[in-house]
C-alpha cells in the first residue's frame, strides 16, 4: 500500500549511502544525561569487546552524547573507528529488546538465547496474564471447596498448567515460525528444552505463588510439583509420536480421568492417592522415566511433527 511505495523511494537511503556511516548522521541533539562513558569502556567499545547490556547503554549514550563521541573519535585509530561506527549503526538498527528479553540479558543470559525465548509465544505477557487468572481462580476455588487436609482441586489443576505451557511453547499450534525452525540447523531438541525450561520456570513459579496463598496446608500444598513434572515430561516424550496437539491433550486428559476415578473409588477423606507419599513416589518415577524416553527420542524433534497439517499457517498474522 502507501507504506510500500514510500519505503521503496529514496527516503532515508541517500544519507547513509553518502558516507556509509548512517549512525553518525542519525545522531541527534538529544541530551546525554549526567554520566559519561569511562575511558576503559570507551576503549572496549572501540575494540568491539563490549557486551550487552553494557553495550546497549554505551550505544544509547553515544547516540546522544557528542562529547563521548568525540572522545571515542580521538582515542581510536581510523580503521577501528570505522568498524565502531558500523557497529553503532547496526546497534541502532537493532530493535530495543523487549521487557522480557532485556531482563533475561541483564540476568546474564546470552542475547541470542534471550531472543529465542522472547519468540516463545506462551511467554508473552498476554499468556502470563491469562494463566495467572486461571490460577487465582483455581486457588480461590480450592479455598471454597476446602477439604480438611489438602486443597484437592488446586492440586489437581496445578500440574496441568506447566503441561499446557510446554504444549503451547513449541510446535505448530502456536509457533508461527515452526517450519522455519525445524529446517534451521539449530537442533530442534535444543529449542524444545530451552523453551520447556523457560515455561516450566514460569509455570512452576506461578503455581508456587498460588501455593503461598494457601498457607494453611503447609507442605501438602506443594504436592502438585512432582505430578506437574511427570505430566510435562510425559507430554513431551509422546510428542514425536502423537504430535504436538494430541500428546499433551492425551496426557492431560489421562490425568483428569485418573483423578476422577480415584475420587469416586476412594474410601474416607484423606488426600487423593497421587498426593500421598506413595503417589508422590510414583510421580517422581514417571517423571524420571519420561525424561529418559525424551532423551532417547531427542532426534525426532528435528522433523516436522506428524500432526502438522497442510496450510495450517495461513492466518497466523
Amino acid at each position: 500500500m502507501n507504506d510500500d511505495t514510500h519505503a521503496h523511494g529514496d527516503t532515508g537511503r541517500g544519507a547513509r549511502d553518502d558516507t556509509g556511516r548512517g549512525a553518525r548522521d542519525r545522531i541527534g541533539p538529544r541530551g546525554a544525561g549526567a554520566w559519561h562513558l569511562g575511558e576503559g569502556d570507551l576503549r572496549a567499545y572501540e575494540r568491539g569487546e563490549l557486551t550487552p547490556p553494557l553495550l546497549w547503554s554505551a550505544d544509547a549514550h553515544l547516540a546522544g552524547c557528542a562529547e563521548c563521541r568525540s572522545r571515542l573519535a580521538a582515542l581510536a585509530d581510523p580503521v577501528a573507528l570505522d568498524a565502531a561506527w558500523e557497529r553503532l549503526d547496526a546497534e541502532l538498527d537493532a530493535p530495543r529488546p523487549g521487557l522480557l528479553e532485556g531482563l533475561l540479558v541483564r540476568l546474564g543470559m546470552a542475547d541470542h538465547t534471550a531472543r529465542l525465548l522472547a519468540a516463545t509465544p506462551v511467554l508473552r505477557r498476554s499468556w502470563l496474564l491469562a494463566v495467572t487468572a486461571v490460577l487465582v481462580m483455581s486457588a480461590a476455588a480450592a479455598d471454597t471447596l476446602r477439604t480438611p487436609d489438602s486443597p484437592t482441586l488446586f492440586l489437581a489443576l496445578a500440574p496441568l498448567l506447566p503441561l499446557a505451557g510446554v504444549a503451547l511453547a513449541y510446535g505448530p499450534a502456536l509457533d508461527p515460525t515452526y517450519e522455519m525452525a525445524v529446517v534451521a540447523p539449530m537442533h530442534g531438541f535444543r529449542l524444545v528444552l530451552l523453551r520447556t525450561v523457560a515455561v516450566l520456570a514460569v509455570g512452576l513459579g506461578v503455581n508456587g505463588l498460588a501455593t503461598l496463598a494457601l498457607p494453611g496446608y503447609g507442605l501438602a500444598a506443594l504436592a502438585w510439583l512432582l505430578p506437574a513434572l511427570a505430566l510435562t515430561a510425559t507430554g513431551l516424550a509422546l510428542m514425536p509420536r502423537l504430535g504436538p496437539v494430541l500428546a499433551p491433550a492425551l496426557t492431560g486428559g489421562g490425568w483428569v480421568v485418573f483423578l476422577m476415578v480415584t475420587v469416586t473409588t476412594r474410601h474416607g477423606d484423606g488426600p487423593l492417592p497421587p498426593f500421598t507419599a506413595a503417589g508422590q513416589g510414583t510421580a517422581a518415577a514417571v517423571a524420571a522415566l519420561a525424561t529418559g524416553l525424551l532423551f532417547l527420542l531427542r532426534n525426532r524433534f528435528d522433523s516436522v511433527a506428524p500432526a502438522f497439517t497442510h496450510h495450517s499457517h495461513g492466518s497466523t498474522l
Binding site: M1, D3, D4, A7, H8, T11, G12, R13, G48, T51, P52, E86, R87, A90, E91, D93, A94, P95, A110, D111, H112, R115, L116, A119, P121, R124, D175, P176, T177, Y178, E179, M180, A181, V182, V183, A184, P185, M186, L191, N299, D302, S303, V304, H310, H311, H313, G314, T316, L317
Partner: protein, 292 residues
C-alpha cells in the same frame, strides 16, 4: 538462460514417495537440479509443497532418497550440513507479528547458528538490503504489506548465504508490480545458487527459470528447459473462429478468436506455441492417462 541440461547436478533425488493416509502425495519422484533457477509447476494438490518440504529436510520421505550439495540428509550429520547451506521459504511463512522486520530476521539468523552478535547484525542488514527492506527494518511485521512480508521471509531465507534456496510459491498473492519486483529479487538470488521454486504461474517460469519440472498427482510429468516444454505444443495449437469441439482445451483470446490446444484438424490455422500451451497439454496428457 544459457544453462544446459548437461550441467552437474547439485540435488538429485530418486524414487521419493510419501503417503498421507493411504494416498501417495509423492509417487516415485526422481529429479535432478543444477545451479540456476528451476521452476516446479503443478496444479493445486499436485504435491509441490510436499516435495519442497522433503527437499528442505522438513519431513522425511517414506521411500526413496536424495542428496543435495553432496550431503545425504538421511543421516543426522548430512542433514545438519545441508541445513547449514539451505534457505527455505514456506508456502505461508509465519511470523512473530510483534517483531520488527529486523528482529524477525535476527531471530531466524539465531536459529541458523549465527551467535556472534555483531556478525549476525551485519548479516541481517545485508539480507534486508538485498530485498530492499533496509528502510522499514524497524517496523513491526504486522504493519507491513503482504508483499513486504513476503520479502521479509525471503530475507530470512537468504541469511547465511545458502547455496540451496527452496521457495514455495514466492509470488503468490502479490500484485503484478510486486510480482515483478519479486522476480527481480529471485533472479538476483539465483546467481551462483541452486534455486527451486514452486508456482502456479507459467509466467514465473517463462521469466525466471532455466529449467522446469511439471508435477501432477505426485508424479513428475516433465523435466527440461522451458523451451522444451513449449516445444511439446509445437503443431498442437491452432486458432478458430468458434470453439473447436475436437480440442483438448480452448479459450477465447483478446482478438475474439478461439485458441485451441490438442490435435488440430486438417488445414487448421496453426499458432506459435507458448509455455502455457505446453504446460496445459502436459497436464491434459496426465489427465487422460489417469482416466484410462
Amino acid at each position: 538462460m544459457t544453462v544446459t541440461s548437461t550441467g552437474t547436478a547439485t540435488v538429485s533425488a530418486s524414487g521419493l514417495t510419501l503417503r498421507y493416509g493411504g494416498t501417495a502425495v509423492l509417487d516415485d519422484v526422481s529429479l535432478r537440479l543444477q545451479e540456476g533457477i528451476t521452476g516446479l509447476l503443478g496444479p493445486n494438490g499436485a504435491g509441490k509443497t510436499t516435495l519442497l518440504r522433503v527437499l528442505a529436510t522438513a519431513v522425511p520421505a517414506d521411500r526413496g532418497a536424495f542428496t543435495a550439495l553432496g550431503h545425504d540428509p538421511g543421516t543426522a550429520a548430512g542433514r545438519l550440513t545441508l541445513r547449514r547451506a539451505l534457505g527455505y521459504l514456506p508456502q505461508n511463512p509465519g511470523f512473530h507479528p510483534d517483531f520488527t522486520a529486523f528482529a524477525f530476521v535476527d531471530y531466524v539468523a539465531i536459529l541458523k547458528e549465527l551467535t556472534d552478535r555483531a556478525a549476525r547484525h551485519r548479516e541481517v542488514r545485508r539480507v534486508l538490503e538485498e530485498v530492499d527492506l533496509a528502510d522499514v527494518r524497524g517496523k513491526r511485521i504486522k504493519r507491513l504489506s503482504g508483499g513486504m512480508r513476503q520479502r521479509v521471509a525471503l530475507a530470512a531465507a537468504l541469511v547465511g548465504d545458502p547455496r540451496l534456496l527452496v521457495l514455495d510459491e514466492p509470488t503468490a498473492g502479490l500484485d503484478p508490480e510486486q510480482r515483478m519486483r519479486f522476480r527481480d529479487l529471485v533472479t538476483r538470488a539465483g546467481q551462483g545458487r541452486t534455486v527451486l521454486l514452486s508456482t502456479h504461474q507459467t509466467e514465473d517460469v517463462a521469466m525466471l527459470c532455466h529449467r522446469v519440472i511439471v508435477l501432477a498427482r505426485g508424479r513428475v510429468r516433465f523435466e527440461g528447459t522451458p523451451a522444451e516444454l513449449t516445444a511439446r505444443a509445437a503443431g498442437r495449437v491452432w486458432s478458430s473462429p468458434e470453439r473447436d469441439p475436437g480440442a483438448r482445451a480452448g479459450w477465447r483470446t483478446a482478438t475474439g478468436a478461439f485458441r485451441n490446444v490438442g490435435d488440430p484438424p486438417e488445414g487448421a490455422d496453426l499458432l506459435e506455441p507458448t509455455l502455457e500451451d505446453g504446460y496445459l497439454l502436459t497436464l491434459d496428457d496426465t489427465g487422460t492417462e489417469a482416466a484410462r
